[in-house]
Symmetry: C2
Subunit: 332 residues, 2 copies
Amino acid sequence: MIVDCHGHYTTAPGELAVWRKRQLASAGQALTAPKITDDQIRESLEGAQLKLQRERGTDVTFFSPRASAMEHHAGDAATSLAWSQVCNDLIHRACTLYPDNFVGVCQLPQSPRVPPATNIAELERCVKDLGFIGCNLNPDPSGGHWTDPPLTDRWWYPLYEKLVELDVPAMVHVSSSCNPNFHATGAHYINADTTAFMQFLTADLFRDFPTLRFVIPHGGGAVPYHWGRYRGLAQDMKRPPLRELLLDNVFFDTCVYHLPGIELLLRVIPVDNVLFASEMVGAVRGTDPETGHYFDDTKRYVDAVTWLSFEDKRKIFEANARKIYPRWKPGG
Amino acid sequence: MIVDCHGHYTTAPGELAVWRKRQLASAGQALTAPKITDDQIRESLEGAQLKLQRERGTDVTFFSPRASAMEHHAGDAATSLAWSQVCNDLIHRACTLYPDNFVGVCQLPQSPRVPPATNIAELERCVKDLGFIGCNLNPDPSGGHWTDPPLTDRWWYPLYEKLVELDVPAMVHVSSSCNPNFHATGAHYINADTTAFMQFLTADLFRDFPTLRFVIPHGGGAVPYHWGRYRGLAQDMKRPPLRELLLDNVFFDTCVYHLPGIELLLRVIPVDNVLFASEMVGAVRGTDPETGHYFDDTKRYVDAVTWLSFEDKRKIFEANARKIYPRWKPGG
């Protein structure tokens, strides 16, 4: 079975964006949920994620709301809660319509400088009531201004206690950037991945939470490319070796859109710490003129890595996902 | 000849740091320059950069003040100017004592929200009076808050006009971070490299300045690892191919501290766009237990890349530096 652990509902029916626009213009007034039919949901997925799953031979996608639209920096905590509920409910409907193809991962109602404990109720609702198996955690709810404490600060601990209790992992995933220095998918996303890893390296978070698990997307940002730098920095700081310090808790996905990058990832990061993902339909939608295939068809790159054993590939494509997302029970 | 295009004076005599401390405590009062003898300078270099040059077989280092100590966020523009003059003068003395081993690259007296044109006088002094061949340009003088405009904004154009006139390149290099989210050498440096590249990708800076040249250090941040992502993003945005759009103007150094990273860099980035560098004595000072050699002994990694021709290596080690830093005249 081929599990894609990182997909967003980037093709949601236009009514969702219209609702969001109304919400942001409504100055806190409560709105009824957007009217979207099951047929609209089917149509939005059949020609996109489902078509690509079939074409590429992937079976199931861990599916969350569009990351760039989370916009935790817009409005306040109440805005963020209402928007997250709407988005998560829509994910739940997609997963209910296609239970073999999609499994829910939730957006959290984060807001800058608002304590992360406020996210617990929506997390519990999604996991316990809707059957979701993970969440996306934004390390910078300010959208490129980085005004909240690092992920290793006790500020985040109440949320981590709940993640541990529910036994669900968090994918570290920022949203769009409102800082003109940072292009969202070309800089802010990648920077956040790198930043989070270095935060984990310098603190003792996983001594406090030995079973807490983070997936760092986009191949871990810059980390595998600079793996020697990170090993060296840890050593200079008298930290334990990275495997011992981080690799029971930190995992990387395969959203790296060319073969040399995937090969590097799989050369330096232990195979137990890599999860297959494509982020389709996502950041890069075109076809690579050098290969004739979609840039984000990452399964082709993993398939092309000749030195991986069958067992290695089984881990990357399925077994690691079962281990890291234990609430996922296929066909259950 | 082996040219290391990226070295900082991280081993400067302690008097420099003492002076800086006094400066920051002096509330703008003018101070006389720190008293540092030629013997102190010799001593600070003989056991460090010069010893390592000899051991590793590198000939000359393009040498600039310690990057993490530039601290453009500390004090105001006058503070930054006085500090830059002191640091650049010290670099000049080191280069004068060891003209075969060091060539000067200057720190600019940047300050957050202060127009970049204010850097021109110090740049001209360093290039015209002191014989420096390049500068370090901080894309985030705020130290991790990213409050200034992107490098592609017209805000920076007066400085670029001077760089073009003087025919000197700028290395994109942030300083330390005063944002607790960003570890300086483990996150802020790498993020800035990635961010700058994406800024260049989305704008037409090099249409306006066809001969302006930037070196992106630390192997280009995350960029080579995500080269497929950047090619794909450019294509989705209807930008020209990256080679055409950027590669006459943007270059990467080899400060990547393990062989798999260097191999990736040299697989995806044309050899004409890669400059040898180690950043020694710098961010990572230890020995890699996996190899028994210094992490930052990047010459070993480049030497170990078997598929590079003699001519390729000559470009990386010397010829590209001559092309990008035309004011450098060895033995001149």
